[in-house]
């Protein structure tokens, strides 16, 4: 045989051998591969560049990492898909569609801002994909589920809605503002957004019952930069306390309240003040501000609350905002639902989630049923979810209510104290 013929035989021969090897390996490999199960894909949607958006992503990430470390769900690892919706309804809808159609997630958790959550809701119905709302509060979210159950049953609301949040503030007001400080009057001051509409209705109904006369009801555009005229109005009415409904705004009105030395205590809901980075953003002007939130360092709402708060703070260098707690819990609740139904099928997941009775970081979580007003909404109650109220004192978030988790008494900033004393 000549050299070129030998070369050809060698080349062909080695090529054939390689093919046999590859074929052999690929026959053996699937058998080995079958032992590593396909991951369970879960999506999370939030505005990355907002503090109250990053907290959603981080809360989900922490839960997924813990679950995977403990062996996954029924032996399958969880794969988390994160989507930035830029706080825009259109981007959120596109993210939802992409998550379901391209990335094949079995369920989605998120987002911040009720307007965005409401925009996503019909898509959860159309694409038959469970959507757990963790960062919005409008009562319309569960309103849709109640009115069109067969269509919208895929949506669950894992955070206290505005109606309940208003009641929490009123309960706090009755115990602390009226009961301990002797306050008599209040002004309701809320940003004009979807979540504050039911909130203000709740405030106006329950504050008088708690002992606070409502002198005025102010709603301002979330684009407001200069709050001076509004604070001047509050001051001219001599209110003892401002009951806020703030989430889209936070830094500006708080800083201006402090710098203008508005002689009224600032309480109610100031959602952005729930993160420790708020102290830095306001350069400490948030001293004395009171707000309700899901969890606070030092408040043992449940045995899981403190460990989560500590681990989150260690990992992300800021305390968790309220929706980090709710999103973290949601992932675990999804896990429980999957394990209960032994399936990731959408309708089975819905059934599984409806059976939720989970002790999370915010409390004991159950969802209202089909015939309740807030179908698939988080149940509110002393032994269920009541949330916690804290006050910024000397640079720290100190829980002040309810009594069983409170660590200190309410402090009144000096520029407020003088005013109230004068009014008595």
């Amino acid at each position: 045989m000549n050299t070129s013929a030998r070369k050809t035989i060698w080349t062909l021969g080695s090529f054939l051998a390689a093919m046999v090897l590859v074929a052999g390996v690929s026959l053996v490999a699937p058998a080995a591969h079958a032992k590593t199960k396909a991951p369970i894909r879960i999506g999370v949607i939030a505005p990355f560049s907002a503090i109250d958006g990053a907290s959603i992503i981080n809360g989900a990430e922490m839960a997924v990492d813990e679950i995977n470390k403990a062996g996954g769900i029924e032996g399958r690892p969880v794969k988390l898909f994160k989507y930035d919706n830029h706080a825009s309804a259109t981007d959120a809808v596109r993210a939802f569609q992409r998550a379901v159609k391209q990335d094949h997630v079995v369920a989605i958790a998120g987002t911040f801002i009720s307007e965005v959550a409401l925009a996503i809701e019909p898509w959860s119905a159309r694409l038959h994909t469970p959507f757990i709302v963790t960062g919005a509060a409008s009562t319309k979210i569960t309103g849709e589920v109640h009115n069109h159950y067969a269509r919208d049953k895929y949506v669950f609301h894992n955070w206290l809605n505005s109606d309940f949040q208003g009641r929490v503030v009123c309960d706090f007001a009755k115990d602390e503002l009226v009961g301990k400080l002797g306050y008599k009057t209040a002004v309701v001051m809320s940003e004009d957004a979807a979540w504050t509409q039911p909130l203000d209705v709740s405030y106006l109904k329950c504050l008088p019952k708690a002992g606070l006369k409502v002198l005025d009801h102010i709603r301002f555009s979330p684009d407001t930069n200069d709050f001076t005229p509004l604070f001047n109005k509050v001051e001219s009415e001599h209110a003892d306390v401002i009951i806020a409904g703030w989430a889209h705004v936070g830094v500006k009105p708080t800083v201006q309240w402090h710098q203008q030395q508005v002689p009224a205590l600032l309480a109610g809901i100031n959602a952005q003040a729930g993160a420790s980075s708020f102290w830095k953003s306001t350069n400490g002007d948030t001293e004395g501000v009171i707000t309700g939130t899901a969890g606070v360092s030092g408040a043992a709402v449940t045995p899981k609350s403190e460990p989560f708060t500590k681990a989150y703070t260690k990992r992300y260098h800021t305390t968790p905002a309220y929706n980090a707690y709710s999103t973290y819990d949601s992932i675990y609740m999804l896990k429980a639902a999957i394990e209960r139904e032994h399936s990731t099928n959408a309708d089975k997941l819905v059934t599984g989630l409806e059976k939720t009775d989970y002790l999370g970081t915010v409390g004991r979580v159950k969802f209202y049923g089909r015939n309740d007003l807030y179908t698939h909404g988080m149940e509110y109650g002393k032994d269920l979810v009541q949330t916690v109220v804290f006050q910024w004192q000397h640079g720290k978030q100190v829980p002040v209510w309810p009594h069983r988790v409170s660590l200190a008494k309410l402090e009144v900033p000096s520029f407020v104290k003088q005013h109230v004393a004068m009014n008595r």
Partner: protein, 293 residues
């Protein structure tokens, strides 16, 4: 009476801040012929750096923060000129009749890049720079944060220095001449590139000071970039493109109109009357209140 005083005080400060921001914007147009749509970026970058140094991250002294903030404003202005505006002005591949639109679009895009960059690095949540002085003063029964009054005073001091510079120094007079007739100035032997260097640096200084002061009063965030550019644009067109006195007058007109609207009607529509006025002026006197061209 108290309400009137509150409006006067608030309007005075707002007008001064607007004036400071708009003065730089109109000088750049007058000398370079550029409508810098990344204007808000200069102010917000200055604010963010001041916060980072003095407030949030480095915890240095307030003075250091302010100086760093203003310097950052100047860096941003220079970056806008050398990286975006000058290459576009000199490029032979852009047809002359399209050049202005090209520069306009380029600065608009730069503004968006700055906005998104700030959001990525600092989140879109607002931050505030610690106030220069704390406490309140009582002016005729109106309680005002001392810082707010100080901002008004500082703005006017800076504007006064600007006036001195433009009218009393050789360099400054050259800048004024360049805004009237750049070719004539070149024929007299002045180096135009040097003038441009000076003007953009001055612009960065004015915008930087305005941004830092704004952050001590209202706070700053990435979302403000577009709005600040729009405000400056409206004021400068109302006052007359290229005229600094015009933009100052317009700044106060707009400032007071906004303040009165916010107090008497609602803060939600505070910008509306100003914009309606702008439309009317463009119809009746398109060169603006004190414009030359």
């Amino acid at each position: 009476m108290t309400l009137l005083l509150q409006v006067l005080v608030d309007g005075f400060v707002i007008g001064a801040l607007y004036g400071l921001g708009a003065a730089g914007f109109t000088i750049i147009f007058g000398v370079s012929g550029v409508l810098n749509l990344a204007h808000g970026g200069v102010m917000v970058v200055a604010a963010m750096v001041a916060w980072m140094v003095a407030g949030g991250i480095l915890h240095a002294s307030l003075l250091t923060g302010v100086v760093c903030g203003v310097a950052a404003g100047m860096v941003t202005a220079y970056a806008t000129y050398y990286l975006v505006v000058r290459p576009a002005q000199r490029s032979r591949r852009i047809p002359d009749e399209e050049r202005e639109i090209f520069i306009l679009t380029a600065t608009l895009l730069l503004g968006i890049v700055i906005q998104e960059g700030i959001a990525y690095l600092f989140t879109s949540n607002p931050v505030t720079v610690p106030p220069l002085v704390s406490g309140v003063v009582h002016v005729f029964g109106v309680r005002t944060p001392t810082n707010e009054l100080l901002i008004g005073v500082i703005s006017w001091v800076v504007l006064g220095l600007l006036w001195l510079f433009v009218n009393r120094t050789r360099q400054g007079k050259a800048v004024l001449a360049a805004s009237i007739n750049p070719h004539g100035l070149a024929m007299l032997g002045f180096e135009l590139p040097q003038i441009h260097r000076l003007v953009w640096g001055l612009y960065g200084l004015l915008g930087g000071v305005a941004g830092v002061l704004l952050a001590t009063f209202e706070g700053a965030s990435s979302g403000l970039v577009g709005g600040l550019t729009a405000s400056a644009f409206i004021i400068v067109v109302l006052g007359g493109l290229g005229s600094v006195p015009g933009s100052l007058v317009a700044a106060y007109v707009i400032g007071f109109m906004e303040t009165v609207t916010a107090y008497l009607i609602s803060p939600a529509i505070r910008t509306l009357p100003g914009m309606v006025l702008l439309l009317l002026i463009l119809y009746v006197r398109p060169q603006g209140l004190l414009g030359r061209r």
